[in-house]
Symmetry: C2
Subunit: 95 residues, 2 copies
């Protein structure tokens, strides 16, 4: 998984709803935590590439599992809430 960034500082363009400054800050934090490796290529203009470390790929798998759980059970949770609300209206505060 690679992320390429135009190295031009001036661009304050927004990338996917996040400003360049916020994107850079977050990438720096991930790099500092050992989750990203940053490679600068001496092209003109210079190209900056971020790649996931093995540790980050493991985290990605764990998070994907969690997101998968949520997507698989979204409907069941909505139904459980509706059933619970109906039931507790009939027998308020049974505890």
């Amino acid at each position: 998984m690679l992320l390429h960034l135009p190295a031009t500082r001036s661009s304050t363009s927004v990338t996917g709803g996040i400003s360049r400054r916020m994107l850079t800050l977050n990438l720096r934090r991930l790099e500092r935590d050992g989750l990203l490796v940053r490679t600068v290529y001496p092209t003109v203009p210079p190209k900056v590439e971020y790649s996931l470390t093995p540790m980050a790929q493991e985290l990605h798998a764990s998070l994907t599992g969690l997101v998968g759980w949520a997507e698989r059970h979204r409907a069941a949770i909505t139904e459980a809430r509706a059933a619970y609300d109906t039931l507790t209206k009939q027998e308020p505060d049974a505890d």
Copy 2:
């Protein structure tokens, strides 16, 4: 995985650092979301038992995976941060 609760309302005893009221509220939410099943036994005093639903057991596995990741990599993250801080002191703002 089962949780037994003394059914007495009066006890405002704290369980593991959480008040009985907060514990009951959180258990109700989890029950409402379909993650817990609540069984009341007609003993004297009545006994209330909470058990995980299959959906909750799946979530538990996902969360355990995430916690496991954090515990496995705690040291590596600390080292990565120290190395990054040393490096960025030498070449501030190389981006």
